[in-house]
C-alpha cells in the first residue's frame, strides 16, 4: 500500500530527504536508513552498546547482507554518520569499540512494514529494545521503544517520557513545554495497562532547556526521560 505508508508519515519530508542524504552506498533504505535507526537506538541507550542483537524482518531478512545493512547497523551503533567511510569496514572495527553483535532474520512478519529492524542493546545495567522502520530515502520511523508504541521520525527533537499513568500528566507536560517555548509537532501516548507505566513520545520543533528537562526528571511520577536532540549531528 504505497500511498498509505507515505500518507501516515508523521512529519513532512525535507527537500534533503529527496536530494540527500549524502551517504555511503549502496541503499538509502537498507544502508543510510539503517544507520539512522541504529543511531536513534544508540541515543536511546545513551552509549555504544556492549551487546547488540539485531533482527531483520521482511525485505530486510533476505537482503540485509547484500545491501550491507549489517555493516550499516553496526556502524550506526558505533556512532558513525550516514556518510562515514568507515561504515564499509564497521564489522572489522566493532571489536575496537567493544561491541559484540548477533544477527537474526524473520522472513515474513506480515503485520510489519516491509523494511523493519529490531535492536536489543545492552550496556552494563542498561538495556533497550527498539523497533525501527526504514521508509526509503533514509527516512525512518521508530515504531516502538521497549514495547511501547513510539512512532517518531528522529528528524526533530524527541522527548520520551516513561511515567506512571496518572491523571493530567499529559496536560501537565504539554504545559511545561509550552512555557519553554517548545512547539509540539507530534505526540503519542501508550501504556501497558490502566494506572500502569505509560510512555509519552513528544516530537518538538526546537530543543528543550536543560533546566526544564531536569525539572521533568525530578517529578515523582516520572520514571525515566530520554531526550534525543538530533541523531544526525
Amino acid at each position: 500500500m504505497a500511498s498509505t505508508y507515505s500518507q501516515i508519515m508523521a512529519e513532512k519530508s525535507s527537500i534533503f530527504d529527496m536530494i540527500g542524504p549524502v551517504m555511503i552506498g549502496p541503499s538509502s533504505s537498507h544502508t543510510a536508513g539503517v544507520v539512522r535507526i541504529a543511531r536513534a537506538a544508540l541515543k536511546l541507550l545513551g552509549d555504544i552498546p556492549e551487546e547488540a542483537e539485531i533482527t531483520f524482518y521482511n525485505s530486510f531478512a533476505r537482503t540485509y547482507e547484500g545491501h550491507s545493512s549489517d555493516r550499516a547497523v553496526i556502524g550506526g551503533l558505533m556512532d558513525f554518520k550516514t556518510d562515514d567511510k568507515r561504515i564499509k569496514n564497521s564489522l572489522d572495527l566493532a571489536g575496537e569499540f567493544g561491541l559484540s553483535y548477533k544477527f537474526k532474520s524473520v522472513g515474513n512478519a506480515s503485520t510489519m512494514h516491509p523494511n523493519t529492524i529490531r535492536l536489543v542493546l545492552k550496556k552494563g545495567e542498561k538495556q533497550i529494545e527498539v523497533l525501527g522502520e526504514s521508509k526509503g530515502g533514509g527516512i525512518i520511523n521508530i515504531a516502538e521503544v521497549n514495547g511501547f508504541k513510539a512512532d517518531f521520525t528522529a528528524n526533530l527533537h524527541t522527548l520520551i517520557i516513561f511515567a506512571d499513568d496518572v491523571k493530567g500528566s499529559i496536560a501537565f507536560i504539554a504545559n511545561i513545554l509550552a512555557h519553554d517555548e517548545c512547539n509540539i509537532a507530534t505526540m503519542s501516548v501508550s501504556r501497558k495497562g490502566k494506572n500502569d507505566l505509560a510512555c509519552q513520545v513528544i516530537e518538538m520543533d526546537s530543543g528543550i532547556k536543560g533546566v526544564t528537562l531536569a525539572y521533568l526528571e525530578s517529578l515523582s511520577w516520572v520514571k525515566q526521560i530520554i531526550y534525543i536532540p538530533d541523531i544526525d549531528k
Partner: protein
C-alpha cells in the same frame, strides 16, 4: 502557510498566485516547514552537487569492483569505447550515470536522489546538461530545488521506495526529477516541465525491483543509465510542447496504484524477476555466504 506539495496542479496554482517560480515555492516550503534559511538550503544543495560531481569523477577514474564482482568498472569501459552509438555527449551521459551508481554499489559516497539505488541518474543528467549547455552552478542548484519539489509530490502520491513501489518508485522518480531539471535549465515553462515529468513517469511505469541476490547492482546500475536516457528523451518531448495527455498528477496516481498492487516478490525482496532466474539464484547462492537463520513466520 507554505504550499505542502500534495499535487502538481496546486504547485502551479500556488506559484502563479504568488507570482514566483516553481523552485521558489520549494525554497519557501523548506524554510517554513524545516526552519532552514535560504543560505543553509543553498549550501546544502551545493554540497550535494559537489558530492554528485565527485561520484561521477570517482566512478570514471578509480577502481570500481563490487564485493560480488558483478560490478566491474563498466562505466570506464563505456566512457572510453571508441564508437559512440549516437554522439560523444550521449556516451558521456550513459557512462556518467553508470559511474556515480557504481560508486554507490561499491560502498562509496553518493547523494541519495531520491534514493541511493537511483543515485546515478541526477549526477549523469546534470553533469552532462551543464557541460553541453554551459549552465551555471546557480541555475543547477535551482533545478535541484525544483527536482526536490517533484520528488516531494511523488513521495506523497506514490512512493520513492523500491520496497514499497518497485523500481519505478526509485529510478522513475529520479528520472522525473532529472527531466524536470533539464527543461527548467533550458528555459521551459511550468507546462513544459510538468509534461516532461509526466512523460518520463509514463515511460518508467511498472518497472519492478528485482535485484539479483538482493544487491543494488544488477540491474540497478544499468537502469540508472536507461533512466538518465529517458529523462533526456522526455525532456526533448516536453520542451517541444508535446502534451502528456494524461495530466502529471494522474500519471503519478497511476504509479501509486501500480506500486500498491505490485506483488511483494517484485519489491526489493530478491524473490522475483531477474533475482529468480537460474543465473540470478546461482549468484545469490555464491555471494550470500553467511548462514542466515530464517525463523518461522510470526503469527499476526
Amino acid at each position: 502557510m507554505s504550499f505542502l506539495f500534495e499535487s502538481f496542479a496546486d504547485w502551479k496554482k500556488h506559484a502563479e498566485e504568488k507570482n514566483i517560480s516553481l523552485h521558489e515555492v520549494v525554497l519557501e516550503y523548506e524554510r517554513e516547514q524545516k526552519g532552514r534559511n535560504k543560505e543553509q538550503i543553498m549550501e546544502g544543495l551545493a554540497r550535494a552537487w559537489e558530492v554528485m560531481k565527485d561520484a561521477v569523477h570517482t566512478g570514471l577514474t578509480e577502481e570500481m569492483t563490487s564485493r560480488s564482482g558483478m560490478i566491474n568498472n563498466g562505466a570506464k569501459k563505456v566512457y572510453n569505447y571508441p564508437t559512440p552509438v549516437l554522439s560523444k555527449e550521449f556516451q558521456n551521459l550513459i557512462s556518467r550515470a553508470l559511474a556515480a551508481k557504481e560508486v554507490n554499489s561499491c560502498m562509496g559516497r553518493v547523494v541519495a536522489a531520491p534514493t541511493a539505488g537511483a543515485s546515478g541518474i541526477m549526477p549523469g543528467v546534470l553533469v552532462t546538461l551543464q557541460e553541453i549547455h554551459k549552465i551555471d552552478d546557480q541555475k543547477i542548484l535551482e533545478a535541484m530545488l525544483l527536482a526536490a519539489g517533484i520528488a516531494l509530490i511523488m513521495e506523497q502520491r506514490a512512493s520513492i521506495s523500491g520496497a514499497v513501489g518497485g523500481c519505478q518508485a526509485e529510478t522513475g522518480t529520479a528520472a522525473a526529477m532529472g527531466s524536470g531539471a533539464i527543461v527548467y535549465c533550458l528555459g521551459g515553462n511550468t507546462d513544459q516541465i510538468f509534461n516532461a515529468v509526466a512523460i518520463t513517469v509514463q515511460c518508467m511505469l511498472g518497472l519492478v525491483c528485482d535485484p539479483v541476490a538482493g544487491l543494488v547492482e544488477i540491474p540497478c546500475v544499468v537502469r540508472n543509465a536507461s533512466a538518465a536516457a529517458i529523462a533526456n528523451s522526455s525532456a526533448q518531448i516536453g520542451l517541444a510542447n508535446v502534451s502528456s495527455v494524461i495530466p502529471v498528477d494522474e500519471v503519478i496516481e497511476a504509479m501509486g496504484e501500480i506500486g500498491a498492487s505490485m506483488e511483494t516478490r517484485y519489491k526489493e525482496t530478491a524473490l522475483g524477476g531477474l533475482a529468480a532466474t537460474k543465473t540470478g539464484q546461482a549468484i545469490a547462492k555464491r555471494v550470500l555466504i553467511r548462514d542466515i537463520e530464517i525463523l518461522p513466520d510470526e503469527k499476526s
